[in-house]
Symmetry: C2
Subunit: 319 residues, 2 copies
Amino acid sequence: MSDLPKTIEINEEGPREGFQIEPGPIPTARKIALVDALSETGLKQIQITSFVNPKRVPGCADAEEVVAGFHPREGVRYTALWLNEKGLERALAHRDRLTIQGSISMCASEPFIQRNQNRSLAENERVQHNQIAIYRENGIPVDRISVMAAFGCNFAGDISVDQVLRTVQSGLDIAAEHGLRIDRVSLADTMAWATPESIKRVVGAVRERWPELRITLHLHDTRGLGIANAYAGLEMGVDSYDAAVAGLGGCPFAGHKGAAGNVCTEDLAFMCEEMGVSTGIDLDRLIEAARLAEEVVGHPLPGTVMKGGTLSRLRARVN
Amino acid sequence: MSDLPKTIEINEEGPREGFQIEPGPIPTARKIALVDALSETGLKQIQITSFVNPKRVPGCADAEEVVAGFHPREGVRYTALWLNEKGLERALAHRDRLTIQGSISMCASEPFIQRNQNRSLAENERVQHNQIAIYRENGIPVDRISVMAAFGCNFAGDISVDQVLRTVQSGLDIAAEHGLRIDRVSLADTMAWATPESIKRVVGAVRERWPELRITLHLHDTRGLGIANAYAGLEMGVDSYDAAVAGLGGCPFAGHKGAAGNVCTEDLAFMCEEMGVSTGIDLDRLIEAARLAEEVVGHPLPGTVMKGGTLSRLRARVN
């Protein structure tokens, strides 16, 4: 048998991923209800909103209200996303309720960062230096590097393992200039190019070069390989995954150009628990939250276990 | 990297799986159009219908017309399903157009075969002896054993590896009494209990005991693990899979108690081709057939790559 990790951490990103893309409008109270339901599932980290330009992302225009309104549960970290200094300022106003963590945000594809953030990779490095300065001024820890497009890019095509290693190295160099100690690297399959084999190649290469770095996988399910890719990650010992309840974050059924959300939290948790990999999650409660997510957005979501059911109930019926 | 097979065979079961469960009615000409479209994809084996009781399965009442009407393509084997002598007789009337293969049909779960076929495992063994006699009278080759519920059962719970081995052995004993040489065993995850790890356990145990037997996996996707399970099969060297175009055969969106169809053919083929495992399939044509399947049944189907798109077009745009 494979030597899978004994336990993994799942970082729930459904509320943030979902509400920023859903056509809505979704009442703020319903968003809060979903965050509160997720708080009761055993998840230890939930990303609840995004402090971004409300004109560009109207689904997150109520970020402040969501943060002010949810009911924090002890032992759960609540996080938010920001893309620039203004967003960070908005997040910092809620340090009492949010865990504010800094990350050095890298990208393995020049054309992607050009299109996505209108800057070159070299310019991005300068931006990251500035960001770190702001983080440090505000006493925000920076202990991780994230790498977008680590497995392929719609605009650059295949991304070589060497390119990923160079990108991580650039992030570590930036960290070193500021005397920062990096514990973790997040490898993002931003545009769903990964296969189980490329997961193994990239994770294996990063692990071999920096065995001290903990790896997080951020996987999208646009081409149906999300769960298989997560399994390949487990086989490589990866014990930290981003995921989205019910597969929130994209909607293959509503014509959003077919882009799907993150790998589905409850499907991932189901697979792990069935294989003896502990997630700390109460699967029945998580499935209730997934059904609530469908109600909140008002259409079917791609999660599978919430439709097919878990095995524990069937086992209980047998015994 | 994993040592995956260089090539695999995919046995397309979408037409049979789909039309027997779809509420329909679907015009016979549309069923034929789908079979003909699948014939152009590079698939080498297509199961096109089921000779079953038309009162119980109205979607297959036009089995004869479908078989008479499709346009066979050279090099493609067309098969059909039957569950009893009467069905076999109907199939035999079309030996000019169908490949008629016998299989020794076993089950790893006593309560499942009781509910599904109203017989005990012991009674099933007698039925199989009778079936073989009929196959031999008609000059039909019998070279395979199939095992239902090989990974778990809604009515028996978990199925032990030993139980699977005993079931395969019983099938081989039956074959031996008739002097039959068995080449292949099909392991079916009939009720979607398998995980990648249990695939490895069961396949590994069968392979170790009977290294000469070729293994086919029949996987359902009810709990979202179908593709991950297929990947685990590839890792174990399994080079033969049943699959259904567009994920036909169940419909999580229409309330069929959440049961999903077989693993989706084009998603499986996409994963394989991206990992360098050759399927012989023209993925673009298969995706066209998957979209036709959605049109034919009149509602969305669970296949993912047909919504998310392949990577070859994106690569072509880059280069």
